[in-house]
Amino acid sequence: MLQSKDNIILKVEDLAIGYNTKKVETVVASNINFELEKGQLIGLVGANGIGKSTLLRTLIKVQPALSGKILLNSKDLKSTSTIALAKQLSIVLTEPLLSKNLSVFELVVLGRHPYTNWIGNLSEDDLTIVNNALELVNISELKDEKCYELSDGQLQKVMIARALAQDTDVIVLDEPTTHLDMYHKAYILKLLQKLTKETGKTILFSSHEIDLAIQLCDTMIVMQKDKVVCNQPCRLITLGVFNSLFPKDLIVFDNTSGSFRVSK
């Protein structure tokens, strides 16, 4: 038990998330507790509007938590400076890129931002890390392409390479598989799994691809109306968590195949 404590990279205690405007507090979800281990692939699933994005935004410090604690590398997220956080946590968001006029290389290089000098000059080390990131994601040959020339799937890979170049312990991805075809959905998630194995990084992503997540993730966080459950996918199936994920009138979870079926 003690050994596994050292292995915890992200710990969430009694977290309540939501929005705080003026005097009105809108709680999206509360009483969230989980621990994430190093080097794991973690999938965050739940119905639309349940608060997956809010949870991720809180974890990456884009919005403040209403109450509770988030510990990254056993340090409170609140007291972690922006620059220190940038060296521990990188993100891939759903929001479209503002400028697609950068080359793939230039964009991935931006991941080195927290480490470079005042004008952003790259050292030999920086270049090695950037090239490594490009290789890990298999996009070395796209290096000189402009981002507007890429397909959605390629662009997603580039954004993952950029996060890798930031060389952080944790990478958080918000719905990395939206807009992708079935093959690329599987490809991206499989890639994330490979990255956790090869780099030892912890990767947390939210997704609607529950079937794929069950097959690929080491741990899954399931958000439901009244509770948030975090466990290994096979445990979650035996606990019957997925059965109550959606209203049962349309789709039901099939425990034996580990996927959803349309009810007849």
């Binding site: 990456i60 940038a86 968001l93 890129l97 503002l98 931006l110 991941g111 952003g120």
Partner: protein, 340 residues
Amino acid sequence: MKISHTYSFIILIVILLCCFVLNISLGSVSIPFSEVFGSLFGNIDNMTSQVIITKVRLPKAITAIMVGSGLGISGLLMQTLFRNPLAGPFVLGISSGASLGVALVILGSGLFGGLFATALISKWSIVIAASLGSFLVLLAVLAVSSKVRDTMAILIIGLMFGSITAAVVSVLSYFSSAEQLQQYIFWGFGSLSNLSWEEILIFFGIYSLGIILSVFSIKGLNALLLGDNYAKSLGLSLKSSRFIIIFATSLIAGTITAFAGPIAFIGLAIPHLTRQIFKTSNHKILLPAVFLFGAIVMLICDSIAQVPTSDYMLPINAITALVGAPVVIWLLVRQRRMMF
């Protein structure tokens, strides 16, 4: 930096030098090339040429370089900060503030009488009024930007300042005499000439400060290309970089408006032209390229405006708009590929 970019920069610098020499060789009095060079390096017999070159044309050419490069760079800063391809150096209401200051001095003299009742308004009072006006608007915008989280809100506030100014100016012009109106309109034409060396020195001081701040913003500007959330996740302090970028723009655009009047289109068009030619959004390349392009285009515009060998001097704003407006139209037509 790629080798092709190094070549492009060398070519641009050569073009800039050529435009500079061409600009000071042309004018209402024709001066042969040998005398132009002679007066630049201080060995010449023809005193008239010497005076024309060093007192009139050289200050004007230097002003043109500062105005063109400064407006280009502040336009670039604003387009990246507001992620709006149609933003320019004046979106913060800087030129509106300056116009309001000048309008109050020139047109207000009729309304208030007494204190301002001198028939001729001196050049310095216009410079001071323009600086004060843009400085006050800048203060207001900075105060607002520290309160408002949304970058777009600052853009709207800048536009609102513009509307207020336009309204006040039209009220003032209703009560003004024809001569005063004419003087105000002439200021609005913009002018690169008639700056003394002392004025240029002050101009240069403030301008350089703004340029230095912009150079220090390069890294942050590149991070901002990804959007606010990504920039923050890269360790960028959004608040302070936004402040520095707005401050740099205000210094540059404010001082240019004070000394040369509200010069349109250059700030909007030059960054787009540069992006199309250099095909990048990387500010490490864009910023120096915009600097050179702005200076070159302004020198060319000024050479055209003075209508070589004639006594006419066309308003510089008309020429920049003639160059700038087609660029804006061209951009809108090709919108599908308009990147920044």
